[in-house]
């Protein structure tokens, strides 16, 4: 039983890595990986989408509540980076305002989840 679960876990990791490597390699001219306007930002979004997918898998399949809290914290920090890349690609600076506000919200949410996991009240 444990062996089967272990194999399924490895299969998920392997699929994600294969999709990422195919997405990077299948681009026709690899030296234009550093080309700014055409495809670099779309590839950044692609890699961040794979990271979001991994966090969502851990939120769905986490055995305990602590795993889900850790995955939520990780998802919040990833969204900050996503907003940074979005502000580069669109050239508007208020996406970083959203990033700072999201970091604050993620921090407060993580503290509230930790206090909830301890099993005590919030007004301690």
């Amino acid at each position: 039983m444990r062996n089967k679960a272990n194999r399924k876990n490895w299969l998920i990791i392997f699929l994600c890595v294969v999709i990422a490597v195919l997405g990077i390699i299948s681009y026709p001219d690899l030296p234009s990986l550093l080309n700014w306007q055409s495809s670099f930002l779309s590839r950044c979004f692609f890699i961040l989408m794979i990271c979001f997918l991994m966090c969502l898998i851990r939120i769905m399949a986490g055995p305990t509540a602590g795993d889900r809290a850790v995955a939520m914290d990780t998802l919040g920090i990833l969204i900050v980076g996503f907003c940074a890349i979005l502000s580069i690609s669109t050239g508007r600076d208020w996406y970083l305002d959203i990033a700072i506000a999201w970091a604050l919200q993620s921090f407060i949410g993580a503290l509230a989840l930790a206090k909830y996991l301890e099993g005590k009240g919030f007004d301690e």
């Binding site: 990791i13 950044c44 305990t64 850790v70 700072i100 993620s106």
Partner: protein
């Protein structure tokens, strides 16, 4: 020149992000997963924001990126510590390969 340096920072940050998320899926325990994600994802996101600052220079975007880096470096270890402490107090056992648990020894010493 500074565009290439900024792109290299962003690529390194994305690599750290995806390594941290693979650690989140792969490692066996809450504490191991927390260790992997906190280090790798914090360093990765701070690297992406530093790349934004290098690309945009001393403009509004760059200064907000530096502000976000300072805020993340200040708050993310605190949140990780609180989550580890909360899940230890809620009764999550360590992985069977872990050999030392100082916090459990300290709690049992306080009780006895």
């Amino acid at each position: 020149m500074h565009e290439i340096i900024g792109k290299i920072f962003i690529i390194v940050g994305l690599g750290f992000d995806i390594l941290g998320c693979i650690g989140l899926l792969r490692l066996p325990d809450v504490y191991n997963r927390l260790q992997a994600t906190t280090k790798c994802v914090t360093l990765g996101t701070c690297s992406i924001l530093s790349g934004t600052f290098i690309l945009r220079g001393y403009s509004a975007t760059g200064m907000k990126a530096i502000l976000a880096v300072i805020f993340l470096v200040m708050t993310s270890p605190v949140a990780a510590h609180a989550l580890a402490r909360g899940s230890h107090k809620s009764g999550v056992r360590l992985w069977k390969g872990s050999v030392v648990d100082k916090y459990e020894e300290e709690k049992s010493n306080e009780i006895s």
